[in-house]
Amino acid sequence: MDSVGFKAPREAAPKTMTSAKIVVAGGFGAGKTTFVGSVSEIVPLTTEAMMTDASTGIDDLEATPNKATTTVAMDFGRVSLDEDLILYLFGTPGQQRFWFMWDDLVRGAIGAVVLADTRRLADSFAPVDFFEDRGLPYIVGVNTFDGVLHHDLNDVREALSIDQAIPIVRCDARDRESTKQTLITLVEYAMRQWIALRSPTAAG
């Protein structure tokens, strides 16, 4: 706030840097990596990029025949929002055997976007359950792969049986503007939640 427009040389002042984190969840092939990549300033980094033999029987390629590989570890992107503020987007590992990493992922996160593929809506149950259990604010983004929304958003809400207050938006993971709007919806919702949960103290 106090240093808007001031461009210091990178190494000069030991200024305080702040980072924030948003989690992007969803089933295998739901478009998490695409979503992260559409807004990230770096090519999404990942610890391991290839699907190994070990995941045979865990990953199901049937409904996404065009997808040959998947990330078996988490991938993430970076968005610099200000001189001293960096937002990181972390995609959840698709496989159940990496669930131990989810605790690391949600700790301190602003919230989560659950990307839903309406062809395989059941894949969204587990992330939804997890975030509800941890009390992490989340919204559902229905990824419209071919620009067409195949299902009514209310039907999706009913199928996922989630609360009316939780936003469900349609999004195109490939489109930067769409991803941006989805993230804005999430942060707005997370702030409403945060204030609502702390209403007695929020006045201060």
Binding site: R10, E11, A12, P14, T16, M17, T18, S19, A20, K21, V39, L45, T46, T47, F76, R78, V79, L81, D82, L85, I86, L87, Y88, F90, D104, L105, R107, G108, A109, I110, K180, L183, I184, V187, E188, A190, M191, W194, I195, R198, T201
Partner: protein, 203 residues
């Protein structure tokens, strides 16, 4: 890794042949070669990768080593190393157990979240730390980098990166920036969300 093998070979008071092997191949691989030559008929598992050197040259090295026959027998005992390193030859760090870099330690002295930012301290820019990983961290963090980014850049598991960063911070090479988490300071978290929101709108 070849750099690491080279530097360790310099430190070790090994034989000249060992030094050569250290440069030419991974140290683990060198050990395997020895084992194979000793127990040639017994090696039926066919796990041996094709040696990087033509056989004739390998013979030469065998000649060189014949002066230190004693050591060869010691090496032959080291067969258990093979299964530990063999399963995934495609993995670049397959010859070193991940936590070997940290001396087996798994705990960090700082709360290092995935998104926690680390930057190289200005006072330490000229420092040349002994451990190659610390050098890499310092190079990487000239502009602030998250723990996750550092782990990806160093190609080490997250837990290993945490210990390495913790060490680098302990020795004053890098600064660990404070991470705002939801639990401590509700006010700070709300402010952070506000800043993220306006930042996203500006994008």
């Amino acid at each position: 890794m070849s750099t690491g093998a080279g530097s360790s070979a310099e430190d070790d008071p090994g034989t000249f042949a060992d030094v050569l092997n250290g440069f030419g191949l991974g140290s683990g691989r060198g050990r395997r070669k020895k084992v194979k030559r000793r127990d040639d008929p017994g090696d039926v598992n066919g796990r041996e990768a094709p040696p990087a050197l033509p056989p004739s040259e390998a013979e030469e090295r065998g000649e060189t080593r014949s002066g230190t026959g004693e050591e060869q027998f010691v090496s032959a005992e080291a067969i258990p190393f093979i299964p530990a390193t063999a399963p995934n030859p495609a993995e670049e760090t397959g010859f070193v157990r991940p936590y070997a870099i940290t001396g087996g330690r798994t705990k960090a002295n700082y709360p290092l979240e995935l998104e926690t930012l680390v930057s190289t301290r200005e006072a330490a820019v000229m420092a040349v730390p002994d451990q190659i990983e610390h050098q890499l961290i310092m190079e990487e963090c000239r502009t602030p980098r998250s723990v996750a980014e550092i782990a990806a850049a160093l190609r080490v598991p997250l837990g290993v990166a945490r210990v390495l960063i913790s060490d680098a911070a302990d020795t004053g090479l890098v600064t660990v920036h404070k991470t705002i988490s939801g639990d401590e300071g509700a006010e700070a978290h709300l402010m952070l969300m506000e800043r993220v929101l306006s930042g996203l709108r500006r994008l």
